[in-house]
Symmetry: C2
Subunit: 239 residues, 2 copies
DNA sequence: CGTCCTATTGAACAGATTCAATTACCGTGG
DNA sequence: CCACGGTAATTGAATCTGTTCAATAGGACG
């Protein structure tokens, strides 16, 4: 697990710093002045590792923007079976629900910082800014496309294909220049995201390691040695 | 398979008739005058059974509104494995893509009628109407919630649970007052939607039939005899 | 009434799960 | 600094659910 100190490396007195930097989210459509007011509305909070932000079924009252750290979203079946529907990284929004209730539980993976807005305030803010509305819509459509891609993974891919897809997704999201990924989630979380068990995930990791496709370094870091091979496997072309 | 004649039962000279009636889609936010102009923009086309409307990767140039009939959306892996990401029924929109290309293939299940709009025209129309924009966004969020629910199904439910979930979904969508569902799709389509094989789907149907939970009538009609039982199974509570 | 396609059923097989045991790792405290 | 303890990861073996391959039955339609 990545160090808890990672979250403290960002200045706390500059709440939405990540918004300025990360161009992935719709913060990018804000002018400097708008961004300033956006920040003023949302106080930054620091949350420890493995803390729930809200539960499935809770009234959707708050919207979060993750600044540092990471989180997972999941849904539960009555008997405890769990499906992780996504992982969140700096710049991501969460809690923008369709209805009045959250449709999933959100939980931090490591110590994390986030801006927190009352939902009505967030929505009023968005409503007054057509470009942000467009961006929010664009983001929703992007999420939808990703969700459908995940359906292909869950419905039709085998274990190695699932893990390869997952590693490539993470590589694009939090991979560094040396093709290394510091995994903030454990094997169980990965398994619950990929529709597998932790044992199967572990075996798939071992298989990739043995094949020289990846390397496992200390501190839950994965190094991608043969990205092209992973791409081939992930696409299902090697089946 | 349901008769091809079903599509012909709606008056052809009244293109978007379904829009007037079905309150599920965002057509409901239109005034009568707007609806008239909306229809004038989009000529109605009638398409035979099993006709592709567009393919994955095609430039997204057209937006469709299904008036009668039904369709399926799917994605393919290079080796032919298929994941059906959704079924569409009268009132549903399709082709509202995030990017310039369609992310999936759309194909009619039976003979179907639909309004067809050039995408830029559709977007200009929406852009000029804030309530419709809101509705489009609301629909996208609803789809996203459904997609995540489907992830739970594909990642964590067993075969009977998947089929039970599917039947209840269809019951809400196209079930009649007598709890009967005329299935427009075959076993393979259902299997590709549920991440199973057609054989497993067939066996699950047989098991429900034997248990007296459903009845299979002529013409691919399923009658739900014990909806409560299906609910229990679908939720995973009986596991 | 025969043909074709789909659905159903059967039997062997495979991939992932389950249960169990061992190993590795990280933080803690001596 | 190293031993210790607890958690997570890995590995192993048996099992099981769903798949695969094959054969039969059923229905729609000419």
């Amino acid at each position: 697990m990545r160090s808890v100190l990672a979250a403290a490396e960002l200045p706390v007195d500059h709440p939405c710093a990540a918004c300025d930097i990360r161009l992935r989210t719709f913060c990018k459509t804000l002018t400097a002045e708008e961004l300033r007011r956006f920040k003023a509305d949302g106080p930054t909070v620091t949350v420890g590792a493995r803390q729930p932000l809200f539960h499935e079924g809770d009234p959707a009252e708050l919207v979060f923007n993750l600044i540092s750290g990471s989180a997972k979203l999941y849904k539960l079946l009555p008997d405890g079976r769990r499906q992780v529907t996504g992982f969140l990284f700096p710049g991501d929004f969460l809690g923008v629900a369709a209805g009045d209730e959250h449709a999933f539980t959100a939980e931090t993976l490591e110590a994390s910082e986030m801006c927190r807005f009352p939902r009505h305030r967030f929505e009023a803010f968005i409503e007054a800014r057509p470009p942000m509305k467009r961006e929010l819509y664009r983001m929703a459509m992007h999420e939808l496309a990703a969700a459908r891609q995940q359906m292909v993974l869950l419905g039709r891919k085998n274990a190695p294909e699932r893990l390869a897809s997952f590693l490539l997704l993470l590589l694009g999201r939090i991979g560094d220049a040396a093709d290394r990924i510091a995994l903030p989630m454990n094997r169980t979380d990965i398994a619950d995201y990929l529709g597998l068990t932790k044992e199967t995930v572990s075996r798939a990791f071992t298989a990739f390691k043995s094949a020289g496709t990846i390397r496992l370094l200390a501190g839950d870091v994965v190094e991608i040695l043969d990205g092209a091979r992973l791409e081939t496997i992930a696409s299902g072309a090697s089946h």
